[in-house]
Symmetry: C2
Subunit: 396 residues, 2 copies
């Protein structure tokens, strides 16, 4: 369940488009500089760009605080040495949840400088969440000594689809209080920074191929199982956003044609069978208070038989949906994340059985299924990667 | 149901990779030249590349017969003018079917120079098909006057998945006689040309965004409904091949958990409900001979009620599977092709109802569903586009 805003990875439809070309050229130069400082002449040689092009782009990067230069002597000749500013370029990652908020400061070299997570009241209004984020960011800047001028932008994760056409949180979000708000505009005002918004599952996928262990993977799906079920996609090495920015809505795959009514208005969607909300409903009968996702993990690890059955049923249904997905996009890796990640093989095993049962054999055999190792930091870390991506900095 | 071979659109993982960089730079130069001839100095200015880089690439293109140069005087100074060879660079497109073979010769400017389609016996061996293709190509060269030296390569469509890891036709192909054959190697020997193989549905998708009316579309799915049901994907503007090259296997989406056994070994797959094979089985009871796909189209257009019902049921099932697909990849356009294309709205209407019923509302509302306008030429035309793609020539 994705969405980007400001995330238009446009192909170079118009070869003459100077800004698209400049962006591509800058990305090449940054890729060279990630390996270490280099002279302008050497950058021109490595990229095939003219020295005038290199010098223009270096100037722009210098003005943006991304790079610095110093005159040196190379082979007896005067040259200009260029280096990326690692302390001089810091990204903010913000993850908004239903009842929490996490803020991370990260350097260009993918190092966490500071991090804080706070609880928010259930049903809080968007504005309340935004003000809390501003407060946490101020505290992190003060405690870490990072200058505000070093911030290159903020990446923000929202647990719901964002309509690219309007920049607003769309219907179907797990945070109903945020629906219809132009989140991008409001956050840019509040943070006074360039802001890049994306949905939590997309950021999970991005974090796996940047901060996580899957940096060599071109085609990856991150599946978040929580109160909603959504997927983020990395296809051909880049985040995939589709036509209007709403992708990975695997929670609304039809499993039972005449099943329960879903919040999306359809029937028998995967979410009506395998979301934590449904699992909690099934397992809370006769309990004093509703269970939490943490309770499900604990009881399953204690081998409570009803919990194991509910987890198994949910996993099989997820696996069936994944089988159809794998048949379509043939990912190399599917990473499962969300509050049930602590279940480990207890959840992965039925998912794998469902996947293999429903996928075309060669696809079932070659798809790696694994649990996320980034835990509840995945979205905030992915949000910092979103900022670097837009600055033209990939880490692969 | 896709597969490419030689089709590795790798991302530039290693920024220093000279061949990847050369390919990218060549693509930029060709994109400029598609607008018309240009001097080397002008090419350097437009692309930001150094004049040395431009001159190297032009030399390589000249040697490959893709471009030619002539000295001119520009603003009183001597310059080298570069033009793409349109007659000098011809692509061969070959489409192998169960009982037909089509060969097309196309120029760089996407103009068909010559074309021939021949029938092949049902159950023919791969070698028989390859020899027939060699014969048709020779005839087309003779009749059109195109020199063999002008051929830059051959694109070949196969109605089945091709395993990228081995270059062989994989299990599940509609042409069982071709399974296990290293089609790429055999064709390169027989044709004495660089060969690019892809599956028919992928080529259908490629033809829609090159030869067809959808050239501005970044995210398109081509759905071929025939004896098999498979899809080709254009995502972020380029053909999508996934991990092992087998994608778009929507024919094996589970519709009925306990439905009929499918040729893939699963149950209740879409193909067991909506392929032409199933439709023919349902409608041939009591007939003297089995119907053909053409008969289905004719009888439906004559408003035969049983045929209309079978088409409607098939369309609804296809639409249900498409709803789940659209939820995942949010395409802008879904194009339906194959031997039932003549049904027009009789088939599109139930597909559309199924799609809207099963997709998340905003996705159902914004996905365009349309019939292919390229008919049975889609695959062969797409095969020529595959050759130009590999020469770095896109048409968007």
């Amino acid at each position: 369940m994705p969405s980007p805003t400001r995330s238009t990875r446009s192909r170079t439809k118009n070869p003459g488009s100077q800004s698209a070309l400049r962006h591509l050229n800058q990305q090449r130069i940054i890729e060279c500089l990630l390996a270490g400082p280099s002279t302008q002449a050497e950058l021109a040689r490595q990229t095939g760009l003219s020295t005038a092009t290199v010098s223009n782009i270096v100037k722009i990067m210098q003005d943006a605080g991304l790079a610095s230069t110093e005159p040196i002597t190379s082979s007896g000749r005067r040259a200009l040495n260029v280096r990326l500013n690692s302390n001089g370029a810091v990204a903010v990652g913000i993850d908004f949840g239903r009842r929490h908020l996490r803020v991370v400061l990260a350097s260009l070299s993918y190092h966490v400088i500071a991090e804080e997570s706070v609880l928010l009241p259930l049903g809080h209004h968007a504005e309340e969440g935004i003000q809390a984020a501003v407060g946490v960011l101020d505290r992190l800047l003060a405690s870490s000594g990072v200058e505000r001028s070093a911030l290159v932008g903020a990446g923000v994760g929202i647990p719901g689809p964002i309509d690219r056409r309007t920049g607003t949180v769309a219907q179907g979000a797990i945070l109903p209080e945020w629906v219809g708000i132009n989140i991008l505009k409001r956050l840019e005002e509040a943070l006074d920074l360039p802001v890049f918004v994306d949905n939590d599952a997309n950021l999970g996928a991005l974090s796996e191929v940047t901060w996580g262990p899957h940096s060599g993977v071109s085609n990856l799906m991150f599946l978040k199982i929580g109160s909603g079920i959504g997927a983020g996609l990395i296809l051909n090495g880049v985040p995939y956003y589709g036509n209007v920015g709403i992708t990975g809505e695997i929670g609304h795959a039809t499993i039972h044609e005449h099943g329960l009514i879903c919040r999306c208005g359809n029937r028998g969607c995967l979410e009506t069978i395998a979301s934590t909300t449904t699992m909690i409903e099934l397992l809370s009968r006769g309990e004093d208070r509703p269970l939490t996702p943490g309770d499900i993990v604990r009881k399953a690890l204690e081998r409570d038989s009803a919990t194991l059955r509910v987890v198994d049923d949910a996993g099989l249904a997820v696996g069936r949906a994944l089988g159809n997905v794998a048949n379509l996009i043939n990912p190399e890796v599917i990473v499962v994340g969300g509050p049930l990640a602590g279940l480990g093989e207890l959840l992965l095993d039925p998912i794998r059985r469902g996947l293999i049962r429903h996928a075309v054999p060669v696809i079932g055999e070659t798809t790696t299924l694994t649990m996320s190792s980034l835990g509840d930091r995945a979205e905030a870390l992915g949000a910092t990667a979103l900022v670097f991506q837009h600055a033209g900095i990939r880490r692969n």
